[in-house]
């Protein structure tokens, strides 16, 4: 997947996969990172124990188009709103898409969408579905 830049060069879409806080369940995040790479995207995996600040900093430094956050211990409602606020503060909330995956209860879907999360992938979503949806979001 690639888009021409203004200067005519081609930039591959860049995706950041991140894990926040103390949640150590990284199987899904790592598998997705491998699959995205195989699908031809550039992937930056942050590793564990990130903060909203380090995630947003990395997103800016690496000039990513999409941030994918994985939550398996139930802290999404703590971290995602913070990330969205930081992106807004940095003025990149519109251009950087955020998607969330993991053990996300259905009752939280609406709130997450309302604060600007582009998509939520609950447990049991296939990698194929995730990549397809990310592709749509990236245009």
């Amino acid at each position: 997947m690639s888009v021409p830049r203004r200067d005519g060069s081609v930039k591959r879409k860049r995706i950041l996969i991140g894990k926040l806080g103390l949640d150590g369940h990284d199987r899904g995040a790592k598998v997705l990172a491998l699959a995205l790479r195989d699908a031809g995207m550039e992937v930056i995996y942050t590793g564990l124990r990130q903060t909203p600040e380090t995630i947003v900093r990395t997103a800016i430094d690496e000039d990513v188009d999409l941030i994918g956050l994985s939550f398996m211990s139930g802290t999404h409602m703590v971290f995602v709103p913070k990330i969205m606020k930081l992106l807004e503060k940095e003025g990149i909330k519109e251009e950087v898409k955020v998607v969330v995956g993991g053990t996300i209860p259905t009752k939280h879907l609406q709130t997450l969408k309302e604060i600007g999360v582009a998509e939520v992938f609950q447990v049991g979503t296939t990698i194929r579905e995730i990549i397809a949806r990310m592709g749509q979001l990236l245009g």
């Binding site: 806080g21 598998v31 124990r49 139930g74 802290t75 209860p105 447990v123």
Partner: protein
């Protein structure tokens, strides 16, 4: 055998061939579910080498293939021990009492992530996690509340704790003493397996070497003072949950075991001084016969390794004692009640495999930490298998099955080959440092995911026979006040304690750490003065440095 051989070829010619020409088989080849071992159509006496005494022998005797005790479950069923812990210490105490009232026979304590990683509830990294996936423990007061009214002398407790294991064990010891129990009588298990943390479970704290040193401190302390306590529970469960296949996970676990043993021997203990209290924790999944064969193979492999490689003499050092749990990652979000079936079948494999204790993952695993109802179903599943099915009435009831014995041999060979591979690469610690374990696991996880998505691996309700409707499931609701309560408990303990004495004990701990002493006595002293998990961990982080993920 000659007779079997000739009648087999006769059967192939006269029965099999005409049958198969009219009734083709479902697949061109059949493989075990996670190790991918190709299995034949039929196994016969020809597949068994004639070496009953060498390979199988009798239960309670070398090589322990058939079980580590002579009568196995005819004497006593395995310990039923659901992994549990919620929110505040009070809530967890109530949960423990409930579990015991349902007929659970041991306790298993789940800590929240800040407690596991060495942060107090008021630390910024603890945000959102206080009392979330287990109980929040900051000081001895919290732990006392968890075990209020529960006599430690009468019940064994397993603690899933690793990086901060010395602190939590110190608290457990302090409570035992306060209850008037001689600590030599305490029984239970502290997981204390830091190697798998940095590879798969990820609740790490200190750099690798100091982490190993602390693990050995616990082994040494328990060996000298708590002979009935399992000072380590070396696991393959988290390797499998992270994606490793059944063979690789087992080999990683055994290679880790060898590493812990080498480090402990260097401390000056003899192998028979401590090996009897080395225990293991394994995962069990859906390919029942693969799992059963694996448990049996591991018992034999361990006995042989301890005898032939480490020259252990005490029979107890050769006995592979293990707890096992049904793999949570195989439980689906779709049709969650089907996970009750998966849990039961997977527990059946554990029981046929001869475990010493077991638990079943919550059927609501894909949604939340287990609801009390899910925990009760876990206890009841064990009771049904133990008291209705009769599978526990005969020792090693599957022993002698041509297929099971063939697969047991195959498993042992394959696991041993991978252990040799790891040893030739410099051993467990080196293979973790250079990322070998991590890469193998990620690759396995990726391959598995692909095989699920192509439908090659079937998961009912998820990639075949899929229902459209969302289930209506009542899941556990975390108490929103749990953080506030934890902070209140912490503030109260801090007001109560003698600050000068806390500072003094932490200074002693620091000196001991810098001087390379066994830290257990110093940590016990500190927790008794209500030093917090965070304060003790900060002291250790300061001396030893924090682990940095590669």
């Amino acid at each position: 055998m000659k007779e079997v051989k000739s009648s087999l070829s006769e059967w192939e010619k006269n029965s099999l061939k005409p049958w198969i020409s009219k009734h083709p088989e479902r697949e061109s080849e059949f493989k075990t579910r996670t190790a991918g071992i190709k299995v034949a159509r039929l196994y016969t006496p020809l597949d068994l080498e004639d070496s009953y005494t060498d390979k199988l022998g009798f239960p309670g005797a070398f090589p322990y293939t058939r079980g580590i005790y002579a009568t196995m479950y005819r004497g006593r069923l395995w310990t039923i021990r659901q992994y549990a812990g919620y929110g505040t210490p009070r809530e967890t105490n109530q949960l423990f009492r409930k579990l015991l009232s349902w007929g659970q026979t041991g306790l298993s304590l789940a800590f929240d992530l800040p407690s596991q990683c060495g942060y107090d509830s008021d630390h910024t990294l603890a945000e959102g996690e206080v009392g979330r996936v287990g109980v929040a423990i900051n000081t001895l007061r919290d732990m006392e509340e968890v075990f209020e009214g529960i006599p430690l002398e009468k019940i064994s407790t397993s603690m899933t704790i690793n990086a901060t294991a010395p602190i939590m064990l110190a608290m457990y010891i302090a409570i035992g003493e306060k209850q008037g129990t001689n600590i030599s009588r305490l029984s239970g298990t502290v997981q204390n397996d830091i190697l798998k943390e940095v590879v798969a479970r990820n609740a790490w704290m200190l750099e690798l070497e100091p982490s190993m040193k602390l693990a050995v401190d616990i082994i040494e302390y328990c060996t000298r003072h708590m002979p009935n306590f399992n000072h380590i529970s070396i696991t393959d469960y988290h390797f499998r949950e992270a994606g490793a296949d059944s063979v690789r996970a087992a080999a990683f676990m055994f290679a880790d075991a060898m590493e812990y043993i080498r480090w402990t021997l260097k401390r000056g203990l003899g192998v028979d001084d401590f090996a009897s209290q080395v225990s293991f924790f394994l995962g069990s999944y859906m390919d029942i016969l693969e799992e059963v064969a694996r448990f049996r193979a591991m018992r034999r492999l361990w006995a042989r390794a301890m005898k032939n490689t480490l020259y252990a003499k005490d029979p107890r050092s050769l006995q592979f004692r293990f707890a096992a749990c049904t793999g949570g990652s195989m439980f689906t979000r779709q049709e969650p009640t089907l996970n009750l079936v998966r849990g039961a079948l997977s527990l059946l494999a554990i029981v046929l495999g001869g475990a010493q204790s077991a638990w079943v993952s919550g059927y609501d695993e894909a949604y939340e930490i287990p609801s009390p109802e899910a925990l009760r179903f876990g206890v009841r599943t064990a009771q049904i298998i133990g008291e209705e099915t009769n599978v526990a009435n005969v020792v090693d009831p599957v022993g002698g099955s041509y297929f099971i014995e063939w697969l047991t041999d195959e498993m042992e060979t394959r696991i041993q080959e991978e252990i040799n591979n790891i040893e030739s690469r410099g051993g467990a610690l080196e293979c973790i440092r250079n990322g070998y374990y991590q890469n193998v696991i990620s690759e396995c996880a990726y391959q598995w995911q692909k095989s699920v998505e192509t439908g090659e691996t079937v998961i009912v309700g998820q990639n075949r026979y899929v229902e459209k409707e969302e289930p209506d499931l009542k899941t556990y609701e975390p108490d929103p006040r749990r953080r506030k309560k934890a902070l209140e408990n912490l503030a109260k303990a801090k007001r109560y304690r003698d600050r000068t004495r806390v500072r003094e004990k932490l200074a002693h701990l620091r000196e001991a750490a810098e001087g390379g002493k066994n830290l257990m006595p110093y940590i016990i002293d500190a927790v008794k003065e209500l030093a917090t998990v965070g304060e003790i961990s900060d002291t250790l982080r300061d001396v030893y440095g924090e682990y940095r993920q590669r």
